[in-house]
Symmetry: C2
Subunit: 182 residues, 2 copies
Amino acid sequence: MGAAVTRPGPRRTLSEQAILDAALALLAELGADRVTIRGIANRVGIAPNAVYTYFPDKAAVLHGLAEQLLGRVLDDRQTDARRPWRDRVHSLAHDLRAELLAHPGSVRLLLDNDGPNARAINATLLSVLADAGLDQDAAARGAHLVNVLILGSIATANQAATDQFEWSIDRLLDGLSTYAAR
Amino acid sequence: MGAAVTRPGPRRTLSEQAILDAALALLAELGADRVTIRGIANRVGIAPNAVYTYFPDKAAVLHGLAEQLLGRVLDDRQTDARRPWRDRVHSLAHDLRAELLAHPGSVRLLLDNDGPNARAINATLLSVLADAGLDQDAAARGAHLVNVLILGSIATANQAATDQFEWSIDRLLDGLSTYAAR
DNA sequence: ACCTGAACACCGTTCAAGT
DNA sequence: ACCTGAACACCGTTCAAGT
């Protein structure tokens, strides 16, 4: 009975995306601190160090994972310029919040992320705030502020307090409106 | 030459505070993810598992560490009711920000903290916002919102952008003022 | 109660080798 | 290029034992 040892060598069944899918599944099922290189490798059926064939290190995997999450957020409801600007911010905030709440601990994955999807969301916010009457500089500061509020609210929320969240967004938008009308 | 082995037994030279002092030193020198049980133990000169004589687990050490940080923030400039309420919020925000920037990665230590010092800061914010004309419910939501903004701003700041920070605080306070005057 | 050494069950990452 | 096994340098935590 020759041992059925899995021998080294290419399998061609895996891809960068397969790694990220496994990482996303671990994130949804177990939370951010259980997204490990070894856990991902185990889930896709390779040795832990084989992950380094696809990504240079764990930080790169987490960066890709953050981009996966952000890619699910943007849609017509935020980009349609005919809708009222406050509605568009509320829609973006709601969708981002829903995505983050579905993935425990995912907030910190987004904090240092600056990939294409992060930029797309920021660009959308910039155009919304321009519609609100803010100049370029104020729109940039305002977009950052909205991001901070969304990420911070979820990170510090003891319970899933939707009311508090909506109220906070409205106070912030009032502050930006006041600035636009200065 | 009898081996100078350190034998087990009480030393009576250590305390809970000595552990926290070591943790704070590691935090300031190396950042939050280098605050380890083994690193603390090494710094105070005991075996890693001896730390568990003083704290039940690492989470308890980090909780104590967060309280240490918060204990340095509050002073007269925030609690003096004769000062304008906006100045008092700016002062609190500035001090908290300075404390967090001096300790890399410390923001996440505060996110799930709810000790005496955290409550004291929240109580101060509540009374400031009451002075601003907010009712009890709005003051509670507003205090949470200010906390979120401070912690979030520091967590997401790419550079040490003091201007952006001050601007954000002012937009937020404008929003709260608008609500108070409704 | 306070401490030690040894161990357990994990990490991320590197290295040498096989296909 | 893609993969394996073994190893290295870490973690937090538990257990049995010594004072």
